[in-house]
Symmetry: C2
């Protein structure tokens, strides 16, 4: 059996013999945009049951039905890693969400820092970006995009069993500090483009769970820093080894 070229995220449970209904948007994409029709093969994933090959059995303007056949990939969960970042301009925020999904983060948390001026995000739009990135990169998991929270609040409620890697030009550490810290639950905090405030820096400096890591001698934009930091972490402690 050849594999489907199109990968679609659905919320429906997936298993052999399941019938999966398509909503209007999915039907429009599959039949209108991608010109697929009854009998064509589509790959489905829902973030829980791995990837499955499915046949189109009904195709209409407002919906359709897929018949699930065989599993083509087991669920591959990324490491238990959160990416916490201060939202920047729209295109670069979208980019950070896309990259976090591709690079293997489990949760994506936009935060307001003392020097961030974003006071709202479109959580639904960012979540849709994460879905699209998973569809494109062959992933079977979609990271959850959280609502915007204050960084101070996130740090106040920090879970005891989670380590934090943060990237700050003013503080320098090396990737080996990550390996020494160990642990399986982690988060990466990307500093805002205006840098952390003194209060934030003091708080992070005092926290036993927080480990600073250097991203080299040049100043990186927040979106570059996100990909670089995910790479450093995945290489030291994640599933790249």
């Amino acid at each position: 059996m050849t594999s489907a070229k199109i990968r679609l995220y659905v919320e429906h449970p997936l298993g052999q013999g399941q019938s999966v209904p398509l909503n209007r948007d999915q039907a429009h994409y599959l039949f209108g945009v991608m010109r697929r029709s009854v009998g064509d093969l589509v790959a489905l994933f829902n973030g829980k049951d791995g990837e499955w090959q499915a046949d189109i059995t009904e195709a209409g303007k407002r919906g359709g039905v897929l018949a699930v056949k065989t599993q083509s990939k087991a669920l591959q969960m990324p490491p238990d890693l959160w990416l916490i970042f201060a939202p920047i301009k729209k295109a670069r925020t979208d980019f950070i969400v896309e990259k976090a999904a591709e690079m293997g983060a489990r949760r994506i948390c936009p935060v307001q820092t003392d020097f961030t001026n974003a006071d709202r995000i479109r959580q639904d739009r960012l979540q849709a970006h994460a879905v699209e990135a998973a569809e494109q990169c062959g992933g079977t998991f979609v990271p959850e995009v959280c609502e915007l929270q204050k960084l101070s609040r996130v740090l106040e409620e920090w879970p005891e069993d989670r380590q934090l890697m943060f990237c700050d030009e003013a503080l320098v550490g090396a990737a080996k500090t990550l390996r020494m810290a160990g642990g399986e639950k982690w988060a990466i905090l990307i500093g805002p483009e205006g840098g952390f405030s003194q209060a934030e820096r003091a708080r992070l400096g005092d926290a036993a769970y927080a480990h600073s890591v250097s991203l080299g001698p040049r100043i990186l934009r927040a979106d570059t820093a996100a990909v670089a930091a995910l790479t450093v972490w995945q290489q030291a402690l994640g599933d790249w080894t």
Copy 2:
């Protein structure tokens, strides 16, 4: 003395007492867009002489003059690293050039591979992107963007003393192979989104200078792969340690 917030790339030599003329575009940016005027401070760099603070001494619609005062940063050359990649969609190609400049590459080489369909690039536009990225990231060096070449040609003429790190899903290596290979002159080759052809893969597999490195279990887009590969290299052999 406070430092200038605006950083401008110029082609003129820089040194104490130098007068630097501005062209029409620079004058428009500095006086029209950024609203600077005579007496204001600007940081200048030319990719050779480091960063210098300069005073605006003449400001007009079609030009202006800056008086160079003191050096604020020495020239910081990035490692002797080339980034070779197959151009993709415009926005993502721009992004790769921007990221290579930020992450510290010395030369950026777009190539045509067997599975690339780009047959031209706008070298001047990409070079301008590299300049802008250097202006923004506080760099004192601007990587050179080469004209589009065929990958087969680049490999035929490969310099004897340069190592090549390439990233290919079909071949797996680890960052420590980089450290074992050593050497100071390197290039990173990012596979095109359609993958390498059998011929290209065979050629790279046979070459003693070529070292394959894995970028994890997920498929990365070419722009993500560029930043991730630069991070892996900079951490193993570059100036991040």
